[in-house]
């Protein structure tokens, strides 16, 4: 696209002429990331101070120039290229750690801070930042937030989403907002995390930091099959031991690593598990005994503990060398990313091997055994177009296999351009349309990182949701009717928090606990299930959740905003929208980085954006700390909430509860 001279002059005035590059070479060098996608921008703006971002975005908005935020550009999804031209905002110079507050266990950082740099600065203070993407020595906190990156420690500590406490965001119109987790309403930070820069640009981030664990112990365990390896992991979780890392690989990968890194990996086992426990020394001893018992029960062949720091480093050297092993065999390594429920891992991995074999593609196969996230690392030469197409087909096959197993097409890498076309197989037209509406609410002009995540032709290509039945169908019909008649309803459960007398859409009919999954440690329940029933039923199965035994329903606990601590435990959601359509997001998945996070959108939204009908959330083998309800907060409408509401529910079918009660 042609950039108006006036816009260039204004930008040069704002950031200095040396920070605005328009020459061909600079543009070509900003057209790639670690994926196969390319997109050449029309200008590259280097941002040296956070305050400049808002001013730059205002200029770009004024001249209707699309823009893409970029810092280290290490992502595998094609999220930071500019396929429709426009401007690249190079945020890499925003690499200052502004403040580390050990008392309140948080740190303020700029988006260009390299993740490992933060760890390096925290270590002498006795703290660490939990998310640990494999590229942590190069990737940035801003990039981690954009992709919702996580890493090996995700099962125990959660992903980037769980470690962002506040963020300063420049919206696509240049307006600056400070978003905090304390405010009422939807969890906007949750929505922004993983949005790949399509909703705005983050300029300052407040992250959670944690005290370094007292003791860490590392073990290398081998199994006769992938199934026994995954079963051992499930059994360990069932016994209440959540390991810090559970990195696994199949035999082919272990052999390749061993021949390269000589890390002492047994080469005769079908599956190798590198497991790490961290806890206080006395508890670690107990956990180790449980681990040994679980391994024995699952026919583990070898159990090799690292007895000192040197041995630990050697074991990790093997795992860390996995990428290098592949990178030296061929010019290109495509790190694929898929996630399935943990119980489906063995079957999916066998399918993946079969797909790779069918397409005559070489790959190593690594997986985070605890959270069902796996990474085939496919080697090829992108100069060979025939081979590259085979690789693409193999990747599509793998992602399709994930979808069929109830998984997702991205656990931590994001969608970008690379997987955008696969989104129609993962989500229904209604869900993709909801994503598009969220995007429009934040960015009506479509300027922020355009053409990413949502397939442009989804209205034609995406499928419809399975037809609704029973109570859900009735509720959907009621909502449709309300919209046709232009009247509002209030979604209620036990009607405890916002007591309304207005026409209510009750969830009480949705009172089934659909499935208690003791392999993945997830429960799937409808929104109208009373908390008391839920807690008692779980207890009768010998499992526990963080929800208390109080009056009220599951949907109420999730939507009212009284249990913000619960959001991190929710992994899947179904909801009815204002047009009566049903949307689904997530499932029995620990990780999901495909699309905008609808769980966080509906969480605390008090039924104003849709009616939550079903939730999937984590349960535990041992009693865990039960959440205490916060007092009902007065509803404060924010401009962002209003904007999303206008797009998602233009006829105000789902009324603001407090307005109705007034």
């Amino acid at each position: 696209m042609l950039i108006p001279l006036e816009a260039k002059l204004a930008l040069k005035q704002e950031v200095g002429s040396s920070n605005v590059q328009t020459d061909e070479l600079a543009l070509l060098l900003n057209s790639y990331d670690c994926s196969l996608s390319r997109g050449k921008p029309d200008l590259v703006i280097t941002v040296e101070r956070t305050e400049q971002v808002a001013a730059i975005v205002k200029i770009l908005y004024k001249f209707h120039i699309p823009f893409v935020a970029r810092s280290a550009a290490t992502n595998h999804a094609g999220s930071c290229s500019a396929p429709s031209g426009g401007a690249i905002l190079n945020l890499a110079p925003l690499n200052h750690i502004i403040e580390i507050d050990t008392k309140n266990q948080c740190a303020w950082v700029e988006p260009g801070v390299i993740t490992e740099q933060l760890q390096h600065d925290l270590r002498p203070l006795g703290f660490f930042y939990a998310p640990d993407p494999a590229s942590s020595k190069a990737c940035t906190i801003g990039g981690n937030m954009a992709q919702n990156a996580s890493g090996a420690r995700c099962l125990k500590y959660g992903g980037t989403l769980d470690h962002i406490l506040a963020a300063e965001v420049v919206l696509p119109n240049g307006e600056t907002l400070l978003l905090e987790r304390k405010t009422t309403g939807p969890d906007w930070i949750g929505v922004l995390t993983g949005s790949e820069g399509t909703l705005g640009i983050v300029t300052r981030i407040k992250v959670k930091i944690l005290p370094l664990p007292v003791t860490v112990k590392t073990y290398l365990i081998t199994f006769p099959s992938l199934e026994s390896c995954v079963q051992a992991v499930s059994d360990l979780v069932a016994r209440g031991v959540i390991a810090r890392c559970m990195e696994a690989m199949d035999q082919l990968t272990a052999r390749a690593i061993e021949s390269f890194a000589r890390a002492g990996y047994p080469i005769d086992a079908q599956a190798v598990l590198l497991l790490e426990l961290d806890n206080a020394p006395e508890l670690l001893g107990q956990e180790e005994k449980i681990l040994q018992a679980v391994c024995r029960a699952n026919q583990a062949q070898q159990f090799i503990p690292a007895n000192n720091e040197e041995e630990r480093a050697r074991l990790w050297r093997g795992r860390r060398a996995a990428y290098a092993v592949m990178a030296r065999l061929a010019p290109n390594v495509l790190v694929c990313d898929g996630t399935v429920p943990r119980s489906q891992l063995p079957r999916t991995l066998l399918q993946v091997r079969e797909i790779l074999h069918r397409h005559q593609v070489k790959a190593s196969l690594l997986f985070h055994a605890g959270d069902g996230n796996f990474h085939p690392q496919i080697i090829f030469d992108e100069r060979d177009t025939v081979r590259t197409n085979q690789v693409r087909q193999a990747v599509h096959g793998i992602l399709q296999s994930c979808i069929e197993q109830g998984g997702t097409i991205s656990g931590e890498h994001g969608i970008g351009l690379e997987k955008r076309d696969r989104m129609i197989y993962l989500y229904s037209r209604a869900t993709l349309d909801l994503f598009a509406r969220i995007k429009r609410a934040f960015d009506p002009e479509g300027l922020a990182n355009p053409l990413k995540i949502i397939p442009p032709d989804y209205l034609k290509t995406a499928g419809t949701t399975a037809p609704l039945t029973g109570e859900l169908l009735q509720l959907s019909e009621q909502i449709k009717k309300a919209q046709q008649e232009r009247r509002s309803v209030v979604v209620t459960g036990r009607n405890l928090v916002f007591q309304t007398t207005k026409p209510a859409l009750s969830t009480l009919g949705l009172n089934r606990i659909i499935h208690i999954d003791l392999t993945n440690y997830m429960v799937m329940a409808q929104a109208g299930v009373p908390l008391h029933t839920l807690v008692q039923t779980l207890r009768s199965h010998g499992v526990y959740s963080v929800l208390p035994d109080l009056p009220g329903t599951l949907g109420g606990a999730f939507s009212s905003g009284c249990f913000p601590g619960f959001y991190a435990h929710v992994t899947g959601i179904r909801a009815l929208l204002a047009d009566g359509s049903s949307v689904r997001y997530g499932g029995k998945l620990t990780k999901n980085a495909a699309g905008y996070n609808l769980i966080r959108l509906f969480a605390g939204a008090q039924g104003t954006l849709g009616m939550v009908t079903e939730l999937t959330f984590k349960i535990y083998a041992l009693p865990c700390t039960v959440l205490s309800p916060l007092p009902a907060q007065p509803l404060v409408k924010s401009p962002l909430w209003n904007a999303v509401k206008r797009e998602v529910d233009p006829y105000n079918v789902f009324a603001w509860p407090q307005e109705e009660t007034r």
Binding site: Q21, D23, E24, L25, A26, L28, L29, N30, Y32, D33, C34, V44, T46, A72, A73, T74, N90, A92, P93, N95, G112, I114, E116, Q117, H120, S135, K137, A138, C139, Y323, A324, A327, R328, P331, N332, V333, D381, E382, R383, D384
Partner: protein, 431 residues
């Protein structure tokens, strides 16, 4: 595989030797998977974080060039910035999973563009060492004399050194110790060599570096004493490294061939050839690469490269030095940051100083302007400051280097910013 579209007509190096075998330039650069792990460790990217000053950008530039997607020109400022800013330190290679030799790629691009990064007088003068050693010696002695009679000081007072043509002179003046004393001719038992070797054949050959011969005689003396006697010393012998780095590959090859021939003539090429400069060591171990495409020389070059040794091979480190002072290893070198000499140096310092040997973070910089990375004029100060800050932060007292040139450069900085510490060649670690 090679794409039919690639332009190989301008290549000067035929093969690049990597840890994974020999590759042509296009294959070598194609192994860059664009993962970006190289960027945070690049000293230039650390101060100018943008793609147009990153190692990944340099590799992608070469690829675009070879695929004829751009037409390179010296008038292109972005291209010049990419090529001139590289300090050839090889930190990017150390981080790269694919072991991409980015510094070699940059050198090749500079050669293809005939890009000169040194002031022309300095370049001509230093080239004399290989082509006309006697003349070089004469000019060098004249220079030392003129400095002794304060000519450079006078030029500084008159602000002549602020003129762009003479800026390098002031920098060189800063680099050199107060009194420059070349290695005395009589130190090595040259005259008696023939007689001695008739009885006992030499155990090794010592090839003193330029700095050991002209600026740091103690380095040459200490290295000599370290080596198994009797030592055959090859004085005033240019390796071809200077020409390799600063553009004239043909001349570099001629000098290297001359060295190989001389080595083969001496005890049938069986003697280890020892150098005190990591840069020279890394260059000579690449002899096969430098002479690739020349069938008569390739095999001989490989045999020669197998005989190259670095001083750390002979440095005994069996007992701990009773010192409480903290020490660091400055890895500033051309092309590489890993390999035998680096591991040996770390082990030696670890044995000698135990816990007082300070390990650095992967993003800590070294001085890229060391030695042959003398290319970055306008940004050197920022990197210098970061390097010294690292030393001051860890309260290090001694910084050990792997070349005399690095020690000189480091001492210049320490004198300016952190006089509490001093830099020494690793040969002096036990002193």
């Amino acid at each position: 595989m090679t794409s039919p579209k690639t332009d190989t007509s301008m290549h000067q190096l035929h093969q690049i030797h990597t840890a994974m075998g020999e590759r042509n330039l296009y294959d070598s650069v194609s192994y860059c998977n664009r993962c970006g792990m190289c960027a945070p460790v690049c000293p230039i990217y650390q101060i100018l974080p943008r793609e147009t000053t990153s190692p990944r950008g340099r590799n992608q530039l070469l690829r675009l060039w070879l695929e004829q997607k751009i037409k390179p020109s010296l008038a292109d400022k972005t291209l010049l910035a990419l090529l001139e800013s590289c300090t050839l330190c090889g930190r990017c290679k150390q981080m790269c999973a694919g072991d991409i030799p980015t510094a070699e790629h940059v050198l090749e691009m500079r050669r293809m563009l005939r890009l000169s990064v040194l002031p022309s007088f300095l370049q001509s003068f230093l080239q004399l060492r290989g082509s006309h050693p006697f003349l070089f010696s004469l000019v060098a002695r004249l220079g030392i004399f003129l400095r002794k009679v304060h000519l450079i000081q006078i030029m500084r007072t008159l602000r002549i050194t602020r003129l762009s043509a003479f800026k390098w002179l002031a920098r060189l003046d800063d680099l050199l110790p107060e009194q420059v004393v070349p290695l005395e001719r009589k130190f090595f038992p040259v005259v008696k060599q023939a007689a001695r070797f008739a009885v006992t054949p030499p155990a090794c050959i010592y090839l003193p570096s330029l700095e050991a011969e002209w600026i740091l005689p103690q380095l040459a003396r200490d290295t000599y004493k370290l080596l198994p006697q009797p030592v055959l010393v090859w004085r005033h012998t240019a390796s071809g490294l200077f020409e390799y780095v600063y553009g004239d590959l043909a001349r570099s090859r001629r000098l290297l061939c001359r060295l190989i021939e001389r080595h083969e003539r001496t005890e049938n090429g069986k003697l280890p050839l020892v150098t005190d400069s990591i840069d020279v060591y890394l260059f000579l171990t690449r002899a096969g690469q430098v002479l690739s495409g020349q069938p008569a020389w390739e095999e001989r070059a490989r045999r020669f490269a197998a005989q190259i040794r670095f001083v750390t091979d002979y440095l005994p480190a069996t007992e701990k030095v009773p010192s409480r002072q903290r020490v660091q290893l400055e890895c500033g070198a051309l092309f590489e940051r890993q390999g035998k000499p680096f591991t040996q140096a770390r082990q030696i310092l670890s044995t000698l100083f135990g816990k007082n040997f300070v390990q650095c973070s992967y993003t800590d910089t070294d001085i890229p302007a060391f030695g042959y990375g003398f290319t970055l004029h306008n940004r050197a100060a920022e990197i210098d400051f970061k390097t010294v800050a690292k030393i001051a932060r860890t309260k290090t007292k001694s910084v050990f280097t792997l070349s005399g040139l690095a020690a000189l450069e480091m001492n210049r900085l320490l004198k300016q910013f952190y006089p509490a510490a001093e830099a020494k060649h690793i040969v002096h670690a036990k002193r």
